[in-house]
């Protein structure tokens, strides 16, 4: 049995990462993130007034999160609109990001986060969270740190990092996490599959290592936004 995976990666190798900040014109903050063939765009509006008013909280901002998969993102078209899976994922994403946001600085407002998965090749919630962290920072939402997300799992008895599509359906275990690097805390943890307590420690450690690598790319993407190679000219029409 060879050491290479279906897509030729080593067991502890991430797919190719792409991260760009400030990709949407109307949103207050936005980012594009890509892990291999999984891509998502996150857009943030706010902090802004809350509608409906009963969502408002007197002492802090509410973070409202909507994760959505575009109908063309999967091989078989997915019906537009919410479903139970996207409801659950929206919830866990919100809970993953909340620990780093200074919500108390904007009472009675809403921070609206929308994440659109454009292409799904497994680990969509991880890519969504990575994009969302960047979008929040881009919007000028005060944060303690970025949240980074990655999955690890088991295929053919072997532990692997960053599960890709084909591996997901034929794999035995999928464990996505979200990580708060400064505090070394896990803010999202889910698991599907069979394992024991000794092995799960290795899987979680592997996922954390993946997160640490992705974190560096997120930081680069934020700094890149303000790197000016060429000073832009404003053109006046003659």
């Amino acid at each position: 049995m060879t050491d290479k995976r279906i897509d030729g990666r080593k067991p502890d190798e991430l797919r190719k990462i792409e991260a760009r900040v400030g990709v949407l014109e109307k949103a207050d903050g936005s980012a594009f993130f890509r892990l291999g063939n999984t891509m998502a765009i996150a857009g943030v509006y706010g902090p802004r007034k809350v509608f409906p008013r009963h969502d408002e909280e007197a002492e802090r901002a509410v973070l409202r999160t909507k994760y959505n998969m575009a109908p063309f993102s999967t091989e078989t078209r997915s019906r537009p609109g919410t479903n139970r899976r996207s409801t659950e994922i929206s919830l866990v994403i919100r809970e993953a990001l909340t620990p780093v946001i200074f919500l108390n600085e904007f009472p009675k407002t809403a921070i609206d986060l929308h994440i659109e998965v454009l292409q799904a090749d497994a680990s969509t919630r991880c890519v969504a969270i990575n994009a969302a962290s960047l979008a929040l920072a881009d919007a000028g939402v005060p944060m303690r740190d970025l949240i980074v997300s990655c999955s690890a799992g088991k295929i053919g008895g072997k532990l692997v990092l960053d599960i890709a599509g084909k591996e997901d359906t034929e794999g035995e275990l999928d464990l996505p996490i979200a990580y708060y690097p400064k505090k070394k805390e896990i803010t999202l943890l889910q698991m599907d599959g069979l394992t024991n307590k000794k092995e799960v420690k290795e899987i979680i450690s592997l996922a954390i290592k993946g997160c640490e690598q992705i974190y560096k790319k997120q930081q680069e993407a934020l700094r890149d936004k303000y790197k000016l190679e060429e000073v832009p000219e404003i053109k006046t029409k003659e």
Binding site: P47, K108, G140, P142, R144, R223, K237
Partner: protein, 260 residues
């Protein structure tokens, strides 16, 4: 003649550089930081937070330090109302004895009658729209912000007034200090060269009026884009001088970025 509240502006120094895990001995006074970046050991000022004696950035922005006080000027973000700020707002609602003003913030502001008008007014006989009507643009001072973010305005400061005509530009509130410049140097330069009146609100709204409104607007938007660049004042001056001398008659071709 200065028409706006001027904020203290520090010398521009920085260029982008990678932020190391620990703050180097000779870090330049201002550098680009992102949320979570370590600024140093000391006290957290605006835009920074402290944990176990170390100070970290809350924003993508420019970090500065003064006697172990670290703060960060964010490069993006909405306006969070602060007492003492001069802001430009639009009258949204007129109530019995007050006006509700949109100050480009998730928090609405209230301008009570007694803070706007000096003379005695008989409310049963007077229509408040005589003073400020729906849609009027005013320059006012924030007199109070409560803990629950109720904002109150006052027009008592002599710089406060209704702004008639001209055009409004919306910019990122964090960029306002750059638009004003050190001791007003940037905005004064634009006013002089373009012959316009300019009022800059801390809330990210700028009012421009004059024959070369368009060119002044272009300049302001350019400052917003390049706010983190070194030597910006001279760059803008050069661009303005070129535009104004070009074909003898300055062209005014920019569309209003945001008319409120």
């Amino acid at each position: 003649m200065s028409d706006e509240f001027v904020m203290e502006e520090k010398e521009e120094e920085s260029k982008k550089e990678a932020v190391p895990e620990t703050v180097p001995e000779e870090a330049p006074k201002r550098r680009l930081v992102i949320p979570g970046d370590l600024l140093g050991s000391g006290i957290a000022g605006h835009g920074a937070y402290e944990e176990n004696g170390k100070v970290y950035s809350k924003f993508i922005g420019l970090a500065e330090e003064k006697n172990s006080l670290f703060f960060v000027i964010p490069l993006s973000g909405i306006y969070n109302p602060k007492r003492g700020d001069g802001v430009i707002g639009k009258i949204e609602e007129i109530s019995f004895s007050k006006w509700i003003v949109d100050i480009n913030s998730p928090y609405q502001a209230v301008l009570p009658l007694n803070e706007a008008v000096d003379e005695f007014i008989d409310l049963t006989k007077t229509d408040l729209t005589r003073y400020f009507d729906y849609g009027d643009i005013i320059f006012a001072e924030i007199s109070t912000v409560t803990k629950t973010k109720n904002v109150q305005l006052s027009m008592k400061n002599r710089k406060c007034r209704k702004l008639r005509g001209g055009r409004l530009i919306k910019v990122t509130p964090a960029k306002v200090p750059r638009i004003i410049g050190k001791a007003g140097s940037m905005v004064e330069m634009i006013k002089e060269l373009t012959g316009t009146q300019i009022v800059v609100g801390q809330n990210g709204i700028v009012w421009v009026k004059g024959e070369n409104e368009g060119i002044a607007t272009e300049a302001i938007l350019l400052i917003e884009q390049r706010s983190h660049v070194h030597g910006l004042t001279d760059q803008i001056k050069e661009i303005l001088e070129k535009k104004l001398s070009h074909t003898g008659k300055p062209k005014d071709n920019i569309e209003n970025k945001e008319v409120i």
